[in-house]
């Protein structure tokens, strides 16, 4: 299995993304902002297809649009909380725009499928380096803001009184989420970002009540799901994204009875 370059790349790429998604996802679940993560991925679809249309690499279009939208959500902040309808409409609009861009580009169906459902077996070494760079930036930024982020997530009023800027923390965090979403899209696609960012983190949060262990467990679960998914896809010839979603769901439901 590992004699093929594309398989090695698939393991490396999914490994990098899974670890980042698990860790960032833990804070996303803790803050109850999972829907924002879901919406950002859809915005990314418009970005990726728009980039293809003007001849840029789709990943950069994705990053530009998700980070832009993440910052926008951060600026609107409290005014967006409880506005699921507004977020949902922007989410659909983005998908619609993406469809329009594809219509002009008259793209191949494979490219659309790759964007929507991911294509980890098609990761080349250049993309791999980009993923590594983006992942390192996300985790480094998270390491800087994690303390006030945690405080602001758990006790916002108290954090504010102690001098934490809720808006700045929220803005930076959503930018990190946006980067992570863009990464996840490479592995599982726009539609299935939840599976790596939310599934493992939510299960980890149910299995341990300790913060450090929760973060570590979320990363380990995401990594295990991604690698097992790639392996099963190799032997069954079924889509990798299917296997990852199945494993993510299985692990999450296994965590529920506790």
């Amino acid at each position: 299995m590992l004699t093929y370059d594309f398989m090695v790349n698939a393991f490396l790429a999914s490994g990098i993304v899974a670890v980042v998604a698990g860790i960032v996802g833990f804070f996303l679940v803790l803050r109850g902002q999972t829907f924002a993560g879901h919406a950002l991925s859809h915005v990314g679809f418009a970005g990726a297809t728009g980039a293809v249309l003007v001849g840029l690499p789709p990943l950069w279009g994705l990053v530009a649009f998700t980070v832009g939208a993440g910052l926008g959500m951060g600026v609107l902040g409290e005014r967006l909380s409880g506005r699921d309808v507004a977020i949902g409409i922007i989410l659909s609009l983005s998908m619609g725009l993406g469809l329009l861009f594809l219509h002009f580009y008259t793209a191949y169906a494979t490219q659309v499928t790759a964007l929507l459902f991911g294509n980890v077996l098609g990761v080349d070494s250049e993309t791999l380096w980009t993923l590594l760079l983006l992942g390192a930036v996300s985790l480094a930024a998270l390491a800087v803001i994690a303390r006030p982020l945690l405080f602001a997530s758990i006790q916002p009023e108290l954090a504010e009184a102690k001098g934490v800027s809720l808006q700045l923390v929220s803005l930076l965090f959503l930018a990190i989420v946006a980067l992570t979403v863009a990464e996840c899209t490479q592995i599982v696609g726009v539609l299935l970002v939840f599976t790596l960012m939310v599934g493992p983190a939510a299960a980890a949060g149910r299995w341990t009540s300790r913060l450090g262990r929760g973060v570590a467990l979320a990363a380990i679960l995401a990594l295990a799901e991604a690698w097992t998914g790639v392996t099963l896809a190799y032997y069954t010839d079924w889509p990798t994204s299917f296997w990852i979603t199945a494993l993510s769901a299985a692990v999450y439901f296994a965590s529920l009875p506790r």
């Binding site: 803790l30 109850g32 390491a143 800087v144 803001i145 994690a146 303390r147 006030p148 945690l150 405080f151 602001a152 758990i154 006790q155 009023e157 108290l158 954090a159 504010e160 009184a161 102690k162 001098g163 934490v164 949060g205 149910r206 009540s209 300790r210 913060l211 450090g212 929760g214």
Partner: protein
């Protein structure tokens, strides 16, 4: 030493004037019950002391210095949110999140911070809650953890916003006694807001009653009287005392009780 000083302070939220030219002086080392109907500005008063709401007129001084955000000398327990009740994080991690939570970096606690967290948990008698997830604690246990959290940094002024909400009478008594004991041991000034005066009787030194944008400060017998409360409520109020308990009545209607019931639905 004056703990908190308001000089002709006016605070508006949007177009609503919550406090109108309020002047008051809270002495250091007192337990002050903050009372008043819903919307009378109990939370706003605390947020103004913390520098989270800027007065449109007047000045606020906290321990001799102008009120500002990030004042380490002021501890704060905000009104409890639903999300805290469903948090699956352990009590220890919950309390720990507030230690130097305003500084950048990764949350892991250093040795001195660990000692501080252990001290705060021990002080409120919550050591055995450290390992349990918050979602599996009772209302009274959660109050202890919240208290431990705001004792971090050893504040001289403690602002507690409705700590008795959704607690049964027994746990209300336990929390009031615990706060009174901490206030004396640690020589703090405590502002304790509540819907009803009765659970606080016997523990408090003074009452700060808010209503109609105004404030009345003094001993229970000076403030909880028909004339003073009638002025604050802007309607005829009668104060009835039965067996050491106080009832604030408008006509045949018990005002503080109905406020409480109203909130229990929220």
């Amino acid at each position: 030493m004056t703990a908190v000083e308001f000089e002709r302070v006016t605070v508006s939220l949007g177009s609503r004037v919550v406090l109108s030219e309020v002047s008051l002086r809270l002495e250091d080392g007192e337990f002050i019950g903050v009372l008043g109907p819903n919307g009378s500005g109990k939370t706003t008063l605390m947020r103004a002391i913390l520098g989270l709401v800027k007065p449109s007129a007047g000045s606020i001084k906290v321990l001799g210095k102008p009120a500002r955000r990030g004042n380490a000398a002021a501890g704060y327990m905000p009104q409890q949110r639903q999300s805290v009740r469903s948090l699956r994080l352990s009590g220890w991690d919950f309390v720990a999140s507030a230690v130097n939570g305003h500084k950048w970096g990764w949350p892991g606690a250093r040795a001195t911070e660990r000692k501080e967290i252990d001290w705060a948990l021990a002080t409120v008698g919550a050591r055995d809650l450290a390992r349990r997830p918050l979602s599996e604690t009772s209302g009274g246990e959660r109050q202890r953890l919240l208290l431990a959290q705001c004792l971090l940094g050893r504040p001289r002024l403690l602002l507690l916003d409705e700590p008795l909400l959704n607690l049964d009478p027994h746990h209300q008594r336990v929390v009031v006694q615990l706060v009174r004991q901490l206030q004396k041991e640690l020589a703090m000034t405590v502002l304790f807001s509540a819907h009803e005066i009765n659970p606080l009787l016997g523990a408090l030194d003074k009452v700060l009653y808010l209503g109609g944008g105004r404030a009345a400060l003094g001993g229970v017998d000076e403030v909880i009287t028909g004339p003073v409360l009638s002025r604050l409520y802007g309607s005829e109020i009668e104060v009835v005392r039965i067996g050491g308990r106080i009832f604030v009545m408008s006509g045949a209607h018990d005002l503080e009780k109905s406020e409480h019931r109203h909130d229990a639905h929220l």
